[in-house]
């Protein structure tokens, strides 16, 4: 099993007091499997994604990624996990504005010391970015920027790809193209894909769906 999540709890302190976002969530994901996380706003989808990605820590429970308990890792351990094993595609792209497209694509792989120029070039080609390699992010459209972000995420060949509303900032046609490319490349690398989405259409294209309601699996 690539990913196993057991009895995860997470509570945030708010102005109105403690707010339990996740209340005993459990799930699993195999290599090559794709899973849609759906649910209403505030149901805990993004929080669960962040916990699995090592961007935050649970209050209780275990997250095993390839037999390693993410919840038990310290900041350095979780940073190492994010560099090579897990790739995150953000809704806001989060590219580095001062680096060219070619450098943005290579960035995470070079951080993880897993840079393969041939694979990076393949990704750029498949994403239709060959003509844009020497441009800066601000010179690209939103769809192009998200394609750069996906190429960057896949460049180190992560075992698990996490995507948080990856097409939320794109129009429908562009979103469809970006999704097609991401699904293809994830399948080629045999990575697991966990995607948060509000789109029924997108959710329907993944192999499984997990619906959350009020911090629990519905």
């Amino acid at each position: 099993m690539l990913l196993t999540v057991e009895n995860i709890h997470k509570t945030y302190q708010t102005a109105d007091g403690p707010f339990a976002v996740l209340r005993g969530i459990g799930m699993h994901l195999s290599a090559g499997e794709t899973l849609a996380l759906t649910g209403e706003s505030g149901s805990g989808k993004s929080t669960l994604l962040h916990l699995i990605g090592g961007l935050d820590t649970p209050d209780q429970g275990h997250i095993h990624l390839q037999d390693q308990d993410i919840a038990a890792l310290d900041d350095n351990g979780r940073a190492g996990l994010r560099r090579g094993t897990v790739g995150v595609v953000f809704q806001q792209f989060n590219l580095i504005p001062s680096l060219r497209v070619v450098d943005n694509i290579a960035f995470q792989a070079r951080l993880a010391d897993q840079y393969d120029p041939t694979w990076a070039a393949t990704l750029a080609d498949r994403m239709g970015l060959t003509e844009q390699l020497n441009k800066y992010p601000e010179q690209l459209s939103g769809g192009q920027q998200q394609r750069v972000a996906i190429a960057r995420t896949l460049a180190p060949k992560p075992k698990l790809v996490l995507a948080d509303e990856p097409t939320g900032n794109l129009d429908e046609a562009t979103a469809a193209i970006v999704m097609d490319l991401m699904m293809e490349l994830v399948a080629e690398t045999n990575a697991g894909l966990l995607m948060v989405t509000h789109s029924e259409n997108l959710a329907g294209r993944l192999s499984r769906r997990l619906h959350l309601r009020a911090g629990q699996v519905a």
């Binding site: 935050d56 900041d75 940073a79 560099r83 989060n94 504005p97 001062s98 680096l99 960035f107």
Partner: protein, 794 residues
């Protein structure tokens, strides 16, 4: 991984060269001002040390003739034969160079030259074989002599064997003074028995020149610190904004797996690298500033205190290393807050630039508390500060407290004003100005400090000038001063002058000790010259009457403060007790001074005769009188001093002092103007999204640009208004606390409204110039750029 992270971080500067320039220039300017002033100070101090070492000045007791004339060489021989360990010194001027002749075999250690040149021959020097030592600059004035270059020899001074000096100066068999070596034999015949014409001057424990000029250097150092504080605000602003703009990148880097500690280390290293580069540029710039200032400083010190300072600058490791240390320390100080915030920044907060206004709102409360606390401390210190540390603590608390309070005060003023706005444009303008405050606050704080420093230092220097000119009027009231060579000449002078002038005022003094303080005691003749010109700091109602009646004594401020003596206290001189009737200001004098009446003085010191005479007469007749005096009595013109010449010379000195302070004032203000320019340019890129809606709703780009300019001038004006009382408080602290602690006298404070008004105009001009370019850029923002703001909204 480090290389990749560094590449990403450095790429930010590559893409934003203006920010990089702002950061480097701010730090370099701050370092330049600091190291420039320090270079001038270090150079001047080194010159005094060289002078003190060369002449043994102030370190040893000296024997001189009571009348100041050279003694016969036979007197020296008599003293040596009687067992006195003394060493002869001859001094005089040749081609404007001070020639000092010493006897290398008997001179105390440290009084000789530093023999660093290969041409120097210790044996030849010791044997009196004609070697002369001087700095390279001084050597150029002595082309006919074989000069060995000795950089450590005091500027304007050449050192040689006494035999050669006597020949060069035409003082064969004459000696000007004798250095009394420490460690004399236990029993000797008293000097007064061997050579009663000699007087022993006690060692001062250091250089007189050094102590006198310390006040000037302290002011320069205070100015350097203020300038550096202004620079630190610029650096802080530049670093703060750079961090703010890189915040999304930092979040992304962390999200992509860069450990926090690694990220902070790399960012700190990156900044230290910049600090090192900027520090080196700053030190080089400081060298240029110092080289430009030094001739004026040297002239000022020479004129004010007779201190010789080399007009050329040497690269001294102590100041360029301290310049670099200050640059690195300043950056560390400025960056520490930003790095701390970075370390506390949650990874998952929205990855967008934080609204500066919101951040400021969160910290405003803390800032207000800190400002209130510091200002309270400064008020307490105003009443309790004692000593230099207390004085500087007062200055620090006052300036930092005021700087921290500035954004809060401006915000309150803007909030009150916006309530009065009638039109919608005015309402938007005031609201937008308030929103811009946090982004501009550091630059405005820099402007506040620069202006306060200008007001403070200008007030101090101008007050010093007014006081000193008044003091000159008081002390140099007589139109002519004559110094006879001996009692015969003195008698001839009195006979000649009495029928020709309004009054002849003899001046006589004795070196005594009052309350363990070395003091010059003067015997004064009852004359309106004293009553009309001398102003007292404190006095009894009949101070002059009782003093001239021989009942009381008046003392200077230094003696009063150092010996703890006040009006009514009693002083005993030669078994006679006097009550203190008055305390007078005596600016620039390092030791105590006291005055009793002439007759009483003559009773107490019957052997002391007047060494100097002040003559009151019509100033127009001074020239003719001196010519006639010289012809009739043989008193040479060089023995006379025309009061008008001295005053003109002193005023000339002050003009040069002003050149230095004006140059520093302009530099500091320019640095503050630069801070505003950089802040506005940095903010300009963030301004487009804020201004686009105003443009979309019907304001023209020209209007927007004009309002941007108006905003900068308005904020500068409000800052200037706040800077004025702060600057005056600064001046008061420098004059009434720091000066007293350092030198023992308090300078009265005068106000110069015209100067302040001119300074305010300069500040507005600097702000307007700084705002012109950013405003023009905004006014010319292409519509496509403004539209992009809306097209990016999804």
């Amino acid at each position: 991984m480090t290389r990749v992270v560094l590449q990403a971080l450095l790429s930010h500067w590559w893409r934003n060269p203006l920010q990089l320039f702002s950061l480097l220039a701010g730090l370099a300017l701050a370092t330049a001002l600091w190291s420039g002033v320090q270079a001038v100070n270090a150079e001047a101090r080194a010159s005094y040390d060289a002078a003190a070492t060369t002449l043994g000045e102030g370190q040893y007791d000296r024997l001189q003739r009571r009348d100041g004339q050279p003694m016969d060489q036979a007197t020296y021989v008599q003293l040596r034969r009687a067992g006195w360990l003394v060493s002869p010194v001859v001094q005089g001027r040749l081609n404007g160079v001070r020639i000092v002749g010493i006897d290398p075999l008997t001179a105390p250690g440290g009084a000789g030259p530093t023999l660093t040149d290969d041409a120097a021959d210790v044996g030849r020097f010791l044997s009196g074989d004609g070697q002369v030592f001087a700095s390279a600059t001084t050597a150029r004035d002595l082309p006919e002599l074989e000069v060995i270059i000795s950089p450590e020899t005091a500027a304007g001074t050449a050192l040689t064997d006494i035999g050669l000096a006597q020949r060069l100066l035409g003082k064969t068999n004459q000696i000007d003074s004798l250095i009394v070596l420490p460690g004399q034999p236990v029993t000797q015949t008293a000097i007064s028995d061997i050579a009663p014409q000699l007087i022993r001057q006690q060692a001062q424990g250091g250089s007189d020149i050094g102590r006198l000029t310390d006040s000037f250097h302290l002011n320069l150092t205070a100015f350097g610190m203020l300038s550096f504080a202004v620079g630190i605000f610029i650096v802080n602003g530049a670093i703060g904004l750079a961090f703010e703009q890189r915040r999304p990148v930092v979040r992304t880097l962390r999200a992509l797996g860069v450990p926090l500690r690694r990220l902070i280390t790399v960012m700190a290293a990156e900044l230290m690298l910049f600090a090192l580069v900027a520090g080196m540029i700053g030190v080089a710039l400081g060298y240029v500033i110092a080289a430009l200032l030094l001739p004026d400083v040297a002239a000022t010190l020479r004129g004010l205190y007779g201190a010789e300072v080399s007009g050329t600058l040497q690269l001294r490791p102590v100041w360029w290393l301290s310049g670099l240390a200050i640059a690195l320390g300043g950056t560390g100080l400025a960056a520490s807050g930003a790095l701390y915030k970075l370390s506390r920044m949650p990874l998952l907060a929205a990855a967008q630039p934080r609204a500066l206004a919101m951040a400021a709102g969160r910290t405003a409360r803390l800032q207000g508390i800190a400002a209130a606390a510091l200002l309270t401390i400064s008020v307490l210190l105003m009443f309790t500060a004692d000593g230099l540390i207390g004085g500087f603590a007062l200055l620090g608390a006052l300036l930092i407290g005021a700087a921290l309070a500035l954004p809060l005060i401006l915000n309150r003023i803007l909030a009150s004003t916006s309530a009065l706005a009638k039109t919608i444009t005015a309402q938007w303008f005031w609201a937008d100005t308030r929103q811009q405050l946090p982004g501009l606050s550091l630059a405005l704080m820099a402007l506040l400090l620069a202006m306060a420093a200008n007001v403070g230092v200008s007030t101090m220097v101008s007050s010093f000038r007014v006081t000193f000119v008044e003091f000159l009027d008081q002390r140099l009231a007589s139109e002519l001063y004559v110094r006879p060579e001996n009692a015969t000449q003195a008698a001839a002078l009195v006979d000649f002058a009495t029928p020709r002038v309004d009054a002849v005022i003899p001046i006589q003094s004795a070196e005594i000790s009052i309350g363990d303080q070395p003091t010059d005691l003067f015997g004064a003749r009852d004359h309106s010259t004293y009553r009309d010109n001398w102003t007292f700091l404190q006095a009894t109602s009949d101070a002059w009457d009782t003093t001239f009646a021989g009942e009381t004594i008046i003392i200077n401020e230094q003696l009063s403060r150092r010996a703890g003596l006040n009006i009514g206290d009693e002083i005993t001189v030669q078994d006679k007790t006097f009550a203190i009737a008055a305390v007078y200001g005596d600016y620039g004098n390092p030791i105590g001074q006291a005055l009793i009446n002439e007759a009483t003085f003559a009773t107490l010191y019957p052997t002391i005769t007047p060494e100097n005479f002040g003559l009151r007469m019509d100033p127009a007749n001074v020239g003719a009188f001196v010519t006639e005096l010289s012809a009739q009595t043989g008193i040479s013109i060089s023995q006379t001093v025309d009061q008008a010449n001295i005053k003109a010379f002193s005023l000339g000195v002050f003009e040069r002092t002003f050149t230095v302070t004006t140059a520093l004032n302009i530099l500091t203000l320019a640095v503050a103007g630069f801070a505003i320019l950089m802040s506005l340019l940095t903010l300009a890129t963030m301004r487009v999204p804020q201004l686009a809606p105003a443009w979309a709703m019907g304001m023209t780009r020209r209007q927007i640009g004009q309002l941007e300019l108006l905003r900068a001038v308005l904020l500068a004006m409000l800052t200037a208004v706040i800077a004025l009382p702060l600057g005056l408080a600064l001046a008061w602290a420098l004059l009434a606390v720091v000066n007293v602690a350092a030198f023992g006298w308090e300078l009265p404070m005068y106000l110069f409204p015209a100067d302040y008004a001119r300074l305010g105009l300069f500040a507005l001009l600097a702000a307007a110039l700084a705002a012109l370019w950013p405003a023009r850029r905004l006014a010319r923002t292409p519509p496509a750029e403004l539209l992009k703001v809306f097209s990016n909204e999804r």
